[in-house]
């Protein structure tokens, strides 16, 4: 009957009134809602080790930013997914973060390959992405407007090795690379190791790629031994760096300078190879001993927050990338993609990671790569000279002549 309907309606009004009274409380809570930064990271799968380092970098950055009062009066909060080291999964995740989870900002994933794949997504939605782990030039030369580089590009990873070789008057060089995006770019891309060597007047006598997952380098090293180069540079990841070094000893390959790229800087490299890692040069984007603003404090804070955790330049890169984004948002005074982009393009900023300055297409021009050498179980930075802590032990003695 009518009365029941009426009472129902009245109940509804009461509810609405109550909601209306409570709304202001909800409203003020809304204003305190944290800024959501979305990202997918390789927490499992092949890149898990370094992806987790990057993860800790992001976490620590968020913590420090919030301790200093947040950004635009709000705290920051990361919304993270695991892309399982797979580019395709990464693409789906960023699409989800942006269109479904509706994050305010995004940060980049681990590795050049995944960054390349997801760059199309944030580009489509005009959300600026600082990609701390993308080191391949090609990513930034495709006319994209919303992706920004933090690392030095792959092409210069062996620059230190080549420079030292040239300064010592060495004449011939050999390079090998794993046949995937990053190592291949290091050696054969324009401006890569082959070009750099030629520019310095060093003759490149041998270049060869090997498939990912290759474990036996006998044939390739036999050819190198026959070519007898003064310098040998290997664009690697971790396990191939270890395998090549080991087999060089077995096959008695003795260049005067031998360097690797990714993986040579990990403590595990020395752990696995022991004394055989001595004299090996490695390229690194960052070491905690470098005189960058806040680098020391960052390192100490990390060890305090994550005791015993693995620590590498990926941690620092993640931290710095987040630092850079936050700084850009501060300067822009808003979360608008175009405004943030404009600020990033203007920045000439020194983070814990070193210099940050990008060109119009997002390509990094200020950050410097450093080269170290394993000496007595420690990584000693030997290049470039203005950042060096020590001198290279040159030449690398032949395997048979070490005790």
């Amino acid at each position: 009957m009518r009365s029941t309907e009426g009472s129902r309606l009245r109940g509804l009004w009461a509810l609405l009134l109550a909601a209306g009274l409570l709304l202001p409380l909800g409203g003020s809570a809304l204003a305190q809602q944290p800024i959501k930064i979305g990202a997918s990271l390789s927490l499992t799968g092949t890149y898990a080790k370094l992806g987790n380092n990057q993860h800790r970098g992001y976490q620590l950055c968020a913590k420090h930013v919030n301790e200093k009062g947040g950004v635009l009066g709000r705290k920051v909060e990361f919304v993270l997914y695991d892309d399982r080291s797979d580019p395709q999964t990464g693409v789906r995740l960023y699409e989800r973060l942006i269109t479904q989870d509706k994050v305010d900002l995004v940060m980049g994933p681990y590795s050049s390959a995944i960054s390349e794949a997801v760059a199309n997504v944030n580009e489509r939605y005009k959300m600026p992405m600082v990609a701390p782990m993308a080191a391949t030039t090609a990513i930034f030369k495709k006319g994209r407007k919303f992706i920004f580089m933090v690392q030095s590009p792959a092409e210069v990873y062996l620059e230190g090795l080549i420079d030292v070789a040239a300064k010592r008057g060495l004449k011939t060089a050999a390079f090998v690379y794993e046949d995937t995006l990053f190592p291949k770019a290091t050696v054969v891309a324009p401006g890569g190791s082959v070009d750099l060597a030629k520019k310095k007047g060093i003759e490149v006598v041998f270049v060869e790629g090997y498939p990912k997952g290759n474990t036996d380098f006998s044939a390739i090293l036999t050819k190198i031994r026959a070519a007898n180069p003064d310098v040998f540079g290997a664009a690697t990841y971790f396990d191939d760096a270890v395998a090549i070094t080991r087999q060089m000893k077995e096959l008695n390959v003795n260049p005067k300078l031998y360097g690797v790229t990714v993986g040579g800087d990990l403590p595990k490299f020395y752990e696995l190879l022991g004394k055989n890692a001595e004299f090996v040069y490695g390229a690194t984007q960052w070491e905690s001993t470098l005189p960058y603003p806040g680098a020391k404090e960052f390192t100490e804070a990390h060890h305090k927050e994550f005791p015993g955790a693995d620590f590498s330049y990926h941690t620092a890169g993640g931290y710095a990338g987040c630092q850079i984004l936050v700084e850009a948002v501060k300067r822009a005074g808003s979360l608008d993609g175009e405004k943030i982009r404009a600020e990033i393009l203007k920045m000439d900023f020194d983070s814990v990671y070193g210099g940050f300055k990008v060109e119009e297409d997002g390509f990094q021009v200020s950050h410097k790569m450093v080269m170290f050498q394993w000496q007595d179980g420690k990584k000693v930075i030997v290049w470039p000279e203005n950042l060096a802590e020590g001198k290279p032990r040159f030449p690398t003695p032949p395997w048979g002549k070490r005790e």
């Binding site: 041998f206 036999t222 050819k223 026959a226 270890v242 008695n252």
Partner: protein, 290 residues
């Protein structure tokens, strides 16, 4: 391109044979499974991976010499293998290989991911034997040489087992004809399980030997599975001496093409060889069971 000298060739041939012996050992297990049970075991490489991890953990926590713990690894996987569910149900009669492929793939993917959950993808290695013996211009990697010796030894033992013992003969009989074997009073079901156990043990042995040479990580097995397939195609599925020769042949082909062409191409050549042999002589270069 560098000109190839005799010394280089010798070096590469040696490397090829050393690597090939390991391929042969592992492939023998796969050949047994296929010959006896008509099962295509995609999980074979995963068994090897488990053997590697077993050796690694025993070495790291108990300090066991990886070569001495090898029998233990074999034993462990043997026990695991005889409980395998692959043969439990009479699978699709019309496409038995589909069922076995999928089943072993399912098992493989579960085990690999469990390994990743348990041990993470961190690369590990058994640091036991490094360096090489030099014989003139040719270097023999110590770890690979010892691996070669063990691989050959175990393979020979396996042949003796198959050829001389009663159980071995029962296995070969079942491979030849399941029905006739049953008529002869052989418990075919039990033979199948036993075969799987032996094959797992062989894979584990390979894993043990390999743990000293390459990086250990959960996905390391896939490459070994593919290579084992190559070997049994080359040597003839179900042909056991064929597995040995096929393994050595594969090792040589890989290294030689790497030397004369490039290392990238050597991968392609191996697979091309697979397709070519399948088309021209599907029963393998030495002829085997079909």
């Amino acid at each position: 391109m560098t000109t190839v000298t005799g010394a280089m060739l010798a070096q590469v041939v040696v490397s090829g044979l050393l690597a090939g012996s390991l391929y042969a050992l592992v492939a023998l297990g796969l050949a047994l499974i296929f010959g006896v049970m008509r099962v295509i075991n995609i999980a074979h490489g995963t068994l090897l991976m488990l053997g590697s991890y077993a050796t690694y953990w025993w070495f790291t926590y108990l300090g066991w010499n990886p070569y001495l713990s090898l029998p233990a690894a074999m034993g462990l996987l043997f026990l695991g293998g005889v409980h395998d569910p692959v043969d439990e149900k009479p699978l699709e009669k019309r496409a038995p290989e589909l069922s076995s492929l999928l089943l072993t793939f399912g098992i493989s993917i579960s085990l690999v991911n469990l390994a990743q959950l348990a041990w993470t993808s961190d690369l590990r290695s058994v640091e036991f034997l490094t360096g090489s013996y030099l014989l003139g211009p040719v270097a023999f990697s110590k770890a690979r040489l010892v691996g070669f010796a063990f691989a050959l030894g175990i393979t020979v033992l396996a042949f003796l087992f198959l050829g001389r013992t009663k159980l071995g003969k029962a296995i070969r009989a079942t491979a030849q004809s399941r029905e006739v074997a049953m008529v002869c009073g052989i418990n075919v079901g039990r033979i199948h399980l036993l075969t799987f156990g032996v094959a797992s043990a062989l894979a584990a042995a390979g894993g043990s030997l390999v743990s000293v040479i390459v990086a250990i990580q959960p996905e390391m097995g896939q490459v070994w599975t593919f290579k084992s397939f190559l070997v049994i195609v080359l040597g003839g599925a179900g042909n056991y001496p064929g597995a040995l020769l096929g393994g050595l042949l594969l090792g040589l082909v890989e290294q030689l093409s790497s030397l004369y062409l490039t290392t990238q191409v050597s991968e392609a050549i191996a697979y091309l060889l697979l397709v070519v042999v399948l088309l021209i002589r599907p029963t393998g270069l030495l002829g085997g069971r079909t």
